[in-house]
Symmetry: C2
Subunit: 176 residues, 2 copies
């Protein structure tokens, strides 16, 4: 089994049937893309509203949405929560480098890490660092605790580097 089974994956207990990780492109037409654009902008847009916006019948739109979901083009639908509004006003990017002997346990290590409430997402990297964590924190002490006690405490971790995030904005095109 590969160390990196897919280019990307969705979160936690997914509302998923049997979505394949999609190593190869799925054929999509203009209608599909317009559906995706609408759902990327507002995932709670009712099916019939999506249909009206892209100019197809609701039944057709529904079938397409399901196909896109089942084929893995749509990985899931997620509410975008504001960490600051939830009492986590600090955001940071933490680069982590593992000791060379620990690379084999990378997966189990990151599985533990990504379940933590601080962690928004994990990037597995090809470069000098092994991975990058997008994290939020209640305050600097909380951030320090996470880095020092949750990361650096493990012998697998060779080094970390923390960069504060002033602001994080989504791309406008959202993957299209």
């Amino acid at each position: 089994m590969s160390e990196f089974p897919s280019t990307t994956a969705a979160a936690g207990p997914i509302p998923t049937k049997d979505v394949r990780p999609a190593r190869e492109p799925v054929t999509t037409d203009e209608v599909d893309r317009r559906i995706l654009t609408v759902l990327a902008r507002d995932a709670r847009t009712p099916n019939n509203a999506v249909a009206a916006e892209v100019g197809v019948a609701p039944s057709t739109c529904l079938a397409r949405m399901r196909a896109l979901r089942d084929s893995g083009v749509i990985r899931g639908y997620h509410a975008d929560l504001d960490p600051a509004a939830l009492g986590r006003p600090l955001q940071a990017l933490v680069s982590v480098r593992l000791s060379s002997g620990a690379r084999g346990r990378l997966r189990s290590f990151t599985d533990r890490i990504r379940a933590r409430p601080e962690v928004r997402s994990v990037y597995f990297l090809a470069g000098g660092d092994d991975f990058l964590l997008d994290v939020t924190a209640v305050d600097v002490a909380d951030l320090r605790d996470f880095v020092v006690e949750e990361l650096s405490a493990y012998p697998e971790v060779a080094s970390t580097e923390t960069n504060l995030v002033f602001e994080h904005v989504r791309g406008t095109a959202a993957g299209l």
Copy 2:
């Protein structure tokens, strides 16, 4: 006016009414958090089902969801698309450093950048680099084109550093 008006922001033409950026925490109780957990996992869960899952009446659930949306705790709902399935199998993180004189034009520069289809998100950083781009590409040539022609071509850009992303996974807790 501040250079960084909010800690985070949502994408493009948002389906938003007047959601404030939420600099301060919003008071939420256990019911709210459970609603948020459900919606973070599957944003298309019907109000009915959310209500049943968290154990409140649908009317109550609906009112809370709206309050959470209006107070800015929920920034939006987005379909999570798989770039690989859409013909963009390459993902990378590009760190960008601007020339010191160009920092004042940072906002207009990044506004142009983030509208590009390659850009999934933009992190404004406090450290040595000015910002970090999460980008996808069709192939290496496409990636190179973006970095060389879209970034390095501008005099504002002092330097860039590109790191390939093997895999990107969402945190399990999704912001709670």
